[in-house]
Every structure is written in structure tokens, then in C-alpha cells.
């Protein structure tokens, strides 16, 4: 129900901003967003739109926002970006990795428009900044809960595509599950899709049938939780958005993408004239990754342990990829006490020791 009210508020906000737009169209800073999926996906795009709404709520009278959903990556995104820039947007957020080349190409043509590309690494001209979230920090917390909660010692992970971000998540989950439960093993299923509820449900089902009782998912729909709800004793986590409808179980906690603070910070900086190009990769500490409420289905001591871990990650005293860690083949990756550097992490393409199976190549 909560999300529904949010949507109504969203619609009202939009209606209001439409009225406002007609009246003071010239004075406001125009902010553009392009989304890869529909806002109704309940995950990735939904959370970016929540960020946009947070931005409107915070700076409503100084800005107006425009957005476009379901923009295919490739040639179409380049056109949409150009049209947005032509329409007078001063800052544009491009919220999918696949927009990387298009963002840089258009940015080169519009030096006065600021571009912010999510999850990419290319900043070819001075007006392109990149931002991303350290989702693997959230995975570490989920992994800890998973390791403590599993009774069959089998946890499952539904991956979308074998890209560094997903591999970070698998490794981080496994490392921290193993830390609290040395007997744990992880089964990875690649769905080869970001969003296909029926297939995600099938994948979850396949995992459950083979004895998995804790499921982590890196695909965007709530289908995995809906499937988990059918079998007593199986738990899972909200992904990208809180997925609170599945509380208190099977959804025992969640990793929430929280883009609002970043959007507000950047647009505020542009309004103040303090805007500068940068590369942001923030996690729990920076507020971009939030851990959703850990429900009562989790014993109090496990909850405390998970929260302590989240806190230590947030204040920087702990890094989820700290040695000693070996690669899958047994060779040394990180020595005792050594922390993984961001360069390796952002291109991560191997499993850590103990995970069975190959990353599809």
C-alpha cells in the first residue's frame, strides 16, 4: 500500500509542477532524467524516479524536472539526450550503464549542459560526471544474515548478467555468509535478463527445489520474493527497492538504492555555482545504499550483528573486500589486511575461493 500512496503523491506533484511550469517556465533550472525501464518496474527505474521526486520535494520552487521512461540504449538514447539538451535542460541524469557512449557523445556537443551518468566510467569532456553506488556493501550485510539464517547451508543467488557489479555482489554475499557459517555453499543462477518476472520466479523455484533456503537476487522484480513466500522457511531480500509488501517474511531485509541525496546535492551545487566534475562511488556511508528494516523473522542477535557490520562499513572501519582472500583458483588476491582497490573492483571478473561454477564468458 505504501508504494501506492507514493505514486498518488507523485501524480499530484507532477500535476502541481505542470501548473508551475506554465507560470514561471523561464526562471527555473530544468533537470532531465532518462530511464532505461518503465517507472512501474518496482526496482531500478522506480528508485531513480523516487530520487527525482525527492529532488522536486527538496528544491521544488527553483527547478523543474522532465523525464523519459523506457529509452532503449544505443541510438535512441543519443537522440533523446540531444532533444532534452535542446529543450533547455541544464543538467541531465542518464541512469543506465548502456547510455555511457551516448552521454559522452552528446556532452561533447553541449558544453554548457551538465551530464551525470550512472554506473559508467567514461568522462570524456569536462561536463560529464559519473556516479554509482557500492551495492556490494549492502550485499555484505545480506550475506551475513543469509549465513546465519540458512538451515540447509545452501544459499542461492539469482544473477542477471555476468558484469562486475553482479560479480561483486555474489562475492561479497558469499564471503560474509562464509565468515559466520563456514559450511555454507552458494548456487548461482544466471537469468540473462534484468527483468522477466516469470523467469525470475522459475529461477527462485529451481533454487528452492534443490534445497536452497535463502535467496539473494540481482534482478529487478519482486517475483523472487513472491515465489519464496510460497514455501515456508525460505527467506529473501528486497532488491533495489524496499519491497516492504513481503515483510516480515520472506523479505527479512533489503538493499535500497537511494539516489535522492545525490541528486539534490548535485542540482543544489549547480544552483549555487559550486558544481564541478566528479566521480562518485558512495555506499552505505554516503547514504546511496540503505539497508531496509531487518524484520522480527531474524533473531535479535543476528540483527544486531548485521547492523554492527553495516555501521562499521558506513564509518569506513571495515571494507567488505579485506584480505586474506583467495581467488577461485586458489591464488592469492588480497593479502592479510589488504583492501581491494576500486580499479580492480569496478572491473571484477572472478569469483573468490569457495564458489563453485564458472562465470559465463
Amino acid at each position: 500500500m505504501q508504494r501506492r500512496t507514493l505514486l498518488t503523491t507523485a501524480a499530484m506533484g507532477l500535476g502541481l509542477s505542470m501548473v508551475g511550469r506554465a507560470a514561471f517556465a523561464q526562471d527555473k533550472l530544468k533537470v532531465g532524467f532518462i530511464y532505461v525501464g518503465p517507472i512501474g518496474d518496482g526496482g531500478w527505474t522506480f528508485q531513480h524516479d523516487q530520487g527525482r521526486l525527492a529532488l522536486e520535494a527538496a528544491l521544488g520552487d527553483k527547478i523543474e524536472t522532465v523525464y523519459q521512461e523506457s529509452v532503449p540504449e544505443g541510438a535512441d538514447s543519443e537522440r533523446v539526450l540531444t532533444q532534452m539538451a535542446l529543450s533547455g535542460c541544464k543538467i541531465i541524469f542518464t541512469t543506465s550503464f548502456g547510455y555511457m557512449d551516448a552521454t559522452n557523445a552528446v556532452a561533447a556537443k553541449f558544453p554548457d549542459v551538465m551530464f551525470e551518468h550512472a554506473t559508467g566510467f567514461k568522462r570524456d569532456s569536462a561536463n560529464v560526471s559519473t556516479y554509482n553506488a557500492r551495492f556490494y556493501e549492502g550485499r555484505a550485510v545480506m550475506g551475513t544474515i543469509a549465513g546465519r539464517m540458512t538451515k540447509s547451508n545452501k544459499i542461492g543467488y539469482i544473477g542477471s548478467f555476468p558484469i562486475p557489479e553482479v560479480i561483486q555482489g555474489i562475492n561479497s554475499s558469499f564471503i560474509h555468509a562464509k565468515k559466520v557459517n563456514p559450511d555454507v555453499s552458494i548456487s548461482v543462477v544466471w537469468a540473462y535478463t534484468w527483468f522477466d518476472p516469470a523467469k525470475e520466479a522459475d529461477a527462485a523455484k529451481a533454487l528452492i527445489e534443490q534445497g536452497v533456503d535463502v535467496i539473494l537476487a540481482h534482478t529487478d522484480s519482486t517475483a523472487v520474493l513472491a515465489e519464496a513466500a510460497k514455501t515456508p522457511g525460505v527467506i529473501g531480500f528486497g532488491q533495489a527497492s524496499d519491497m516492504a509488501e513481503y515483510k516480515p517474511s520472506p523479505r527479512v531485509s533489503s538493499i535500497i538504492d537511494n539516489w535522492g541525496p545525490y541528486y539534490i546535492e548535485r542540482v543544489q551545487a549547480l544552483l549555487d555555482g559550486t558544481y564541478a566534475q566528479k566521480d562518485t562511488w558512495a555506499g552505505i556511508g554516503g547514504g546511496e545504499v540503505k539497508i531496509g528494516e531487518i524484520t522480527d523473522a531474524v533473531p535479535a542477535e543476528v540483527k544486531a550483528e548485521a547492523e554492527a557490520l553495516a555501521a562499521s562499513i558506513a564509518d569506513g572501519s571495515y571494507h567488505p573486500f579485506t584480505g586474506p582472500l583467495n581467488k577461485q583458483d586458489g591464488s592469492v588476491w588480497l593479502a592479510e589486511g589488504e583492501r581491494a582497490d576500486d580499479g580492480t573492483l569496478s572491473g571484477l571478473n572472478f569469483y573468490v575461493e569457495g564458489i563453485v561454477g564458472d562465470i559465463p564468458k
Binding site: 501506492r4 543462477v189 544466471w190 534443490q210
Partner: protein, 309 residues
């Protein structure tokens, strides 16, 4: 690799459930095609059924009424197709594709505000002690109504087409509409009825996805199931029971490939995910080459009928 973890009985049970939406949509489309009409808009009708079924179920709190709503929604959309192709004589292939485009857009508009809500639960059919028989129990007696309904519909369509007078007329219309017209049958009316039946079945299949299989509403939830249903009809060479075989085969390979991944079978994932399609093609080739039965398609399929006198 641990193949022992894959329990065949559980696998069969879950493929039976996975195949229900495809079976319902495919059997509806089979009737439509038997009447000589090719409606490629199955995906559009399914997703409208999914959203209508979901909205109605949430509003009324009854999954049963939801299923009716889904069927009504699918039939309603198919009415556009019927009007265009049967009354206004538009091209069926293009109209069907346009129907899918329209259905995808409309469903997302209708579903606004329903994303992420949980629908009322559809329970399993109580089978008492039968459900606990090892092996057979999970396969045969632990399903929800949809699984039994899908099989019942296939049986009904099979019987109807083969033995009833209505089925005979329907097939006559599909084979040769001019002859059927000359015999005094109302070709257009019969086809419209078939199209509406196909729409209702596709809608029911869609509602099954949003109410039972995934239980939720999200944009694009059918994710191509309608296209698979179309493929299954051809695969089945327009025979009802083969729809069941085709859908179980397809569903089975899909479920199996995920299970093989979990069991760490060292086959590259990309080949596994292609497997359902490749194996369907292979079986199709074997079936069509076996007895040279390419002529199984209704003779008037895709042709519009206009009574010139």
C-alpha cells in the same frame, strides 16, 4: 555437479504450473486459427488479461472474479481485432501486431497505481490424502485450479472440435469459407465468436501469470509468453493434445535448464538459455519431416472473407 538434487517429481510438478499460461493462450489461439483467422496479438491480449485480472482481483478481493475479469479484458481487446479484420477486412498479420503494441501500452496505463501490491492468494485445490502419495502426489494432486483448468480446457476443445456440430462448422469455415458460406453458415459471426474465445483464453492465461505464477503486477509482466503460445500452436500442428505436449516440453526445458544451473552442470549458461528454443525447433523439424504433414494448417488461415453475393 550434483544431479541427485534434482527431484523429477518436483520438476514435473513445477513445469506443469509454469506451462499453464502458455497452454491457455495457445488453446485459445488454436481455436481462432482453426476458424481460419491468424491473430498475432496474443501477447497483447495476455497482458491486458494480466492487468485486468489483477486489478479486478485486488478491487474485489476475490481471485476467482479476477480470473473472470482477465478473461473479459482479453476478450474485450480481441473485439478490436475482430472488428478490424472481420468487419473492416484489415490485414490480419498487421492488425495482430498492432494489437500487441496497443495492449502493452494500454496495460501499463491501466496498471498505474497497482505496481508492487500483493493480490489475494489463489489456493491449491484440496485433494486430501491424495496429495501426500509420494511421487504421484506432487505431480497430480498438489496444484491450484489453473493447472486442472488448463487440462480440462484442452480436453473440451479437443472434444468440441472433433465431435460436436459446432466444431465441425468451425473447421469447415477455417478450411474453405466460401463453401461454408454457400452452405448457409455465418462465416463472419463464427469467426468473431472464435476470436472472442481466443481473447478470453489469452486473458485467462495472462491473469494466471499476474495472480498465481508471479503474483504481482509489473509492466511487461508477460515477457513474451504470448509469442511462445503462438509458436506452440504451430508446433502442435493445430491438434489440441499436442498443445499440452508442446507447452510441457517447452516449460520443462526452461525449468530444467535453471535446475541444471543450480546443480552446477558444466554447460555454458548461454547455451542452456538457448536450449528451449533450439530443442523446440529440432522437435518441430523431426515432426514435420516424419510424415510430410505440412498441410495441417487450416486452408483458409489468414485470409479474409467477404461475401460477394
Amino acid at each position: 555437479m550434483d544431479l541427485s538434487a534434482i527431484n523429477p517429481a518436483v520438476l514435473v510438478a513445477s513445469l506443469m504450473m509454469a506451462a499453464v499460461p502458455i497452454i491457455l493462450a495457445a488453446i485459445g489461439e488454436l481455436v481462432v486459427e482453426k476458424s481460419g483467422v491468424l491473430n498475432l496479438g496474443v501477447e497483447g491480449m495476455m497482458i491486458i488479461g494480466a492487468v485486468c485480472g489483477f486489478v479486478v482481483a485486488v478491487k474485489t478481493g476475490s481471485p476467482f472474479v479476477g480470473f473472470l475479469g482477465g478473461a473479459a479484458g482479453g476478450a474485450g481487446l480481441s473485439l478490436i481485432f475482430a472488428l478490424l479484420t472481420q468487419v473492416l477486412l484489415a490485414n490480419q498479420v498487421a492488425t495482430g501486431l498492432a494489437l500487441t503494441l496497443f495492449g502493452l501500452g494500454l496495460s501499463s496505463l491501466l496498471g498505474q497505481g497497482f505496481n508492487g501490491i500483493k493480490p489475494p492468494a489463489t489456493g491449491k485445490v484440496p485433494m486430501g490424502p491424495l496429495a501426500d502419495i509420494p511421487g504421484v502426489g506432487p505431480v497430480l494432486f498438489q496444484h491450484n485450479l489453473g493447472v486442472y483448468l488448463s487440462i480440462a480446457v484442452i480436453a473440451a476443445v479437443w472434444w468440441g472440435l472433433k465431435y460436436s456440430r459446432m466444431g465441425l462448422i468451425l473447421r469447415a469455415v477455417g478450411e474453405n469459407h466460401d463453401a461454408a458460406h454457400a452452405l448457409g453458415y455465418k462465416v463472419v459471426r463464427i469467426r468473431i465468436a472464435a476470436i472472442l474465445f481466443g481473447g478470453a483464453m489469452a486473458g485467462l492465461g495472462g491473469a494466471y501469470i499476474s495472480l498465481v505464477r508471479v503474483p504481482q503486477w509489473t509492466d511487461g509482466i508477460t515477457a513474451g509468453a504470448g509469442w511462445i503460445a503462438l509458436a506452440i500452436v504451430v508446433f502442435a500442428s493445430w491438434r489440441p493434445w499436442r498443445v499440452l505436449i508442446g507447452a510441457y516440453l517447452f516449460g520443462g526445458i526452461t525449468v530444467l535448464q535453471l535446475n541444471l544451473q543450480v546443480a552446477n552442470v558444466p554447460i555454458p549458461v548461454e547455451y542452456l538459455s538457448m536450449a528451449p528454443y533450439l530443442i523446440t525447433i529440432l522437435v518441430l523439424v523431426i515432426m514435420s519431416s516424419g510424415r510430410g504433414r505440412a498441410a495441417a494448417a487450416p486452408a483458409a488461415l489468414g485470409q479474409n472473407f467477404h461475401a460477394s453475393r
